[in-house]
């Protein structure tokens, strides 16, 4: 006798309880606080804020805790929360030229006004496991007085611009489209592409950026400047008639300087790729700039080499890790009904093939 399987509801509740138990782990070990995650796993927090498109380190830390450190899951929690928030308005564009930089480097000039500021970078560390950390060692004190935000550091591309060597990007006061409020439509404006990339998956953007360096849509990039630091967010209050600073956020910005041979109408000139990401994430900012530049082939009258990084539709439709993880993982959901339909089809086709073979054999 057969009794249909029931109890989906109970199974779900139990699974959730188990998940919660595993999240907490061994209760003999002290529980992590949101403050600990926020301050000690700050780069995870930054990534969750960037790809979650929500600047709130405490919520990002909470999401990381809740997701057991699965950052894509944490990003998902933040996105789902973000989408329920009411929208009060748009801020004025942030002025990255006024950034209080903790890091600011250029790969194109040895020395520049404002100086090269290394900041807290992994770049020149030796990647050796530091067993002192396992023993909870005392951190070193850094000599950093007079570095952080002591003066306004002009954008390095501005110097190139003085000679007209680099293309000037057209300014616009138009409100950029909002990917989270309007469906993606192609061809996308550069503003929309950048928006998609800045919340795109770090791994995807990195891989795409990398592919341009290996010849798939090569664009000969130099890091004109990479800067990380705090910028003010201002919002115009119509009733007041001026803008008010509402927050300070940390961002990473990368401007690449790329070759451009010139065209019939334009003399040879450098062009730019641009990356801007919440928090400290220069890997993402640099990758984004490479990819942004590759996607500009049409606007700059370059050849399309059919590379993935040049393919706007391919990049924009696949860079979002929440969309990707959902759809990839959904194939584990039941597909009994469709599979049954396929089963019947394959049986029919096999039966017909076998019969046809038998007839052929018989006719011999």
């Amino acid at each position: 006798m057969y009794v249909a399987v029931k109890g989906g509801e109970k199974a779900i509740d139990n699974a959730h309880a188990w998940l919660d138990e595993l999240r907490r782990g061994d209760t003999d070990i002290p529980e992590m606080s949101i403050a600990q995650i926020r301050s000690q796993l700050a780069l995870s927090v930054d990534r969750v804020m960037a790809e979650g498109s929500l600047y709130d380190p405490d919520l990002a830390a909470l999401a990381i805790k809740q997701s057991r450190g699965d950052l894509i899951e944490a990003i998902f929690l933040i996105r789902a929360y973000r989408t329920t928030l009411p929208r009060f308005g748009g801020s004025a564009p942030i002025k990255t030229a006024d950034m209080a930089c903790m890091r600011r480097i250029s790969a194109t000039f040895k020395d520049v006004p404002g100086g090269q500021v290394l900041g807290p970078t992994f770049d020149y560390t030796h990647r050796l496991l530091d067993f002192k950390l396992a023993a909870e060692g005392v951190p070193s004190k850094a000599e950093k007085a007079g570095v952080v935000g002591d003066e306004v550091k002009p954008h390095i591309t501005d110097f190139l611009n003085q000679e007209g060597l680099i293309q000037t990007e057209p300014g616009s006061d138009a409100t950029p489209p909002d990917l989270t409020r309007e469906p993606l439509e192609l061809p996308a404006s550069r503003a929309l592409r950048l928006q998609a990339l800045t919340r795109g998956d770090e791994g995807f953007v990195l891989g795409m950026g990398y592919s341009t360096q290996r010849g798939y849509g090569r664009n000969h990039a130099f890091v004109g400047e990479l800067r990380i630091g705090d910028v003010a967010v201002e919002m115009e209050i119509p009733e007041l008639g001026f803008s008010v600073e509402i927050a300070e956020i940390e961002v990473s910005e990368c401007e690449t300087v790329n070759q451009f041979a010139g065209s019939k109408t334009e003399p040879p000139q450098f062009t730019r790729g641009y990356g801007l990401v919440f928090g400290q994430s220069e890997r993402k900012a640099i990758s984004m700039a490479l990819l942004d530049r590759a996607l500009r082939w049409k606007e700059l009258g370059e050849d399309n080499s059919d590379s993935p990084a040049q393919d706007e539709e391919f990049v924009l439709y696949h860079c979002d890790n929440i969309q990707a993880t959902g759809f990839v993982e959904h194939i584990k959901l039941p597909h009994y009904v469709d599979f049954q339909a396929e089963l019947e089809l394959v049986r029919t086709l096999r039966k017909e093939a076998t019969e046809a073979n038998a007839q052929r054999e018989a006719a011999k």
């Binding site: 192609l186 959904h330 469709d338 017909e352």
Partner: protein, 293 residues
């Protein structure tokens, strides 16, 4: 009902945006209306499109039924039903006849739907031409120009190779003689039901599309004169309720591979067993309840 969230979870502006898209979808049957799909608290692929459409349609007076693979007790159906119980406080039911809104993944209930019902389909890939042409910019043009030759070529190639159209689910349909539409991954067995009295709404969250088929709209499964559409389906009756007209799921019963086929529509099967029908491997309904308790 949980008051930390708005009625039916979504904020009012989002619902208005979805509602406007739904109305245009109804006015242009089979055409995929772009909409700014929101992140939902369940993953893409779990029915975010259907959930958004349902959220935009539900009223406090509704009775909601949610099925996945035809059944109300599938984990994802349970999860979505709970979501709306919590966020909209609506009544829920397993009974197809009692529901005013039915959200479904992969099936149309066996029982005929009525004029006062809405069925909401969860759709993974709304574009029927997507696997022939991956580019949205191209498929949009093809729909605009009513250029569906590629689809017919694909189906005809199937016939040439297999002697059959080798599409058994998500079988494309032509709506009101104009738009080729993906009916979502329902088995083609369900296609003929799509000319129905109820309003059919389709939501694809990740792909940001909404579309609709109004009641009594012409829905034709694509075919050829010499190879007419066949809905297929099982040749035996349901093992539990003996239904001969229902779509059956096959189950493997033991290590020797013995099979049993039962209605995929669990409510239809229950209704029949309640009415006294017993299949080959079933027992009268009363006994089953006692054993299961």
């Amino acid at each position: 009902m949980n008051s930390e969230y708005n009625f039916a979870y979504l904020d009012e502006q989002t619902k208005r945006m979805i509602r406007r898209a739904l109305l245009k979808g109804v006015a242009i049957p089979g055409y995929q209306v772009p909409f700014a799909s929101r992140e939902m608290p369940m993953p893409y692929g779990w029915g975010t499109g259907g959930v958004q459409v349902t959220a935009a349609c539900l009223t406090p007076d509704d009775t909601l039924k949610v099925i996945d693979q035809g059944a109300d007790d599938t984990t994802n159906a349970v999860s979505i039903r709970k979501f709306f119980e919590k966020t909209a406080g609506v009544a829920v039911s397993d009974e197809t006849a009692k529901a005013t809104v039915i959200q479904t993944r992969h099936r149309i209930p066996e029982r005929d739907l009525s004029e006062n019902q809405i069925i909401v389909y969860q759709v993974p890939i709304p574009e029927p031409l997507r696997f022939l042409e991956p580019r949205e910019t191209e498929t949009r043009k093809m729909h605009a120009l009513e250029e569906y030759g590629l689809m017919h070529v694909k189906l005809y190639e199937d016939i040439a190779r297999h002697g059959h159209i080798a599409t058994s689910y998500a079988y494309p349909v032509m709506i009101e003689g104009r738009y080729v539409m993906d009916p979502s991954p329902i088995p083609k067995f369900d296609n003929p039901k799509m000319e129905m009295a109820a309003l059919q709404l389709f939501g694809a969250g990740r792909e940001q599309r909404i579309y609709a088929v109004p009641p009594y709209t012409k829905v034709v499964s694509l075919d050829f004169e010499d190879y007419p559409f066949e809905k297929g389906g099982a040749t035996q009756g349901c093992g539990l309720c003996d239904a001969q007209d229902s779509y059956l799921d096959e189950m493997i019963m033991d290590d020797s591979g013995a099979r049993m086929s039962v209605c995929s529509d669990s409510d239809y099967c229950r209704e029949r067993r309640d009415a006294g029908y017993v299949g080959e491997m079933g027992v009268p309904q009363k006994t089953v309840t006692e054993d299961a308790a």
